[in-house]
């Protein structure tokens, strides 16, 4: 049997669940770079006390690179985070209707974050939102 200590066993069959298993690892690798870089830049290199709306509009999102970086990070984290929580829900919610209802709420929440995050990163005027 193929198994890993602390990781989820790979679903056999080559269907959608196997694809999700591979994508969790692929997005995980991307997040290892993107999320750690994001944290180091915005919590370590720049202090939160020096950050406000003008910092974002004039020093971060005035560059297409950082908008693309942040949107890619958002896409990776939405897939990885929501598929991860989905695994936990299916582990603990056994009654079919409870499971279906919880997963529906989860996917709706994911869709809302997709819309909010994409909207602000695509439409925020530069420079200055006010």
């Amino acid at each position: 049997m193929r198994y890993s200590r602390s990781g989820r066993p790979k679903p056999q069959g080559g269907g959608r669940e196997t694809a999700v298993w591979y994508l969790m690892r692929l997005t995980g690798l991307a997040l290892f770079v993107l999320a750690l870089a994001h944290y180091l830049i915005l919590h370590f290199v720049f202090d939160p006390a020096d950050q406000d709306v003008d910092f974002i509009t004039n020093a971060r999102w005035n560059q297409l690179f950082w908008r693309a970086f942040d949107w890619t990070l958002l896409m990776m984290v939405l897939f990885h985070g929501f598929m991860g929580v989905r695994t936990i829900i299916t582990d603990y919610a056994h009654r079919p209707r409870v499971r279906a209802a919880t997963l529906t709420v989860l996917y709706l929440l994911g869709a809302v974050l997709f819309v909010l995050g994409t909207n602000v990163v695509m439409t925020l005027p530069t420079p200055g939102a006010r």
Binding site: F44, P48, I56, L74, L113, G117, N119, T123, A129
Partner: protein
């Protein structure tokens, strides 16, 4: 559960991975909403940032960084064992390696994040 079930390092690694994952996910919910405020309600965003820069805010920031770093390192360990199954026999050594990197990287970063609150010298700037 962590104390009674004697699953050893692998089980604790798994439990920490889950707990840190859910914690990061919860922060992402908050963070996407607060970034949305940059366009939606800039004044409110500046208020939220002041909370993040406060003393309790920085404690939460360090805890978030700890969850992120553990999840990232242990996630890499899982990927290594998934794609090179023979290395699974060294899963304990890999886990202790994760903690070594976690400590070496995490402590200086935590020190630097907390520095402004205590007025400690800022070695890294």
């Amino acid at each position: 559960m962590l104390l009674r079930y004697r699953g050893g390092e692998g089980m604790i690694a798994w439990a920490f991975h889950r707990i840190s994952g859910v914690a990061i996910w919860a922060f992402v919910l908050l963070h996407v909403v607060d970034i949305y405020l940059v366009g939606g309600d800039p004044e409110l965003y500046d208020e939220v940032l002041k909370v993040y820069a406060s003393f309790p805010g920085r404690i939460m920031e360090v805890l978030l960084g700890a969850a992120l770093l553990y999840h990232a390192l242990n996630g890499l360990r899982i990927i290594v064992m998934d794609f090179w199954p023979p290395l699974t026999r060294y899963h304990r050594a890999l886990w202790y390696g994760c903690w070594a990197i976690f400590t070496a990287v995490g402590l200086p970063v935590a020190y630097e994040i907390m520095a402004p609150v205590y007025g400690w010298p800022e070695f890294f700037r």
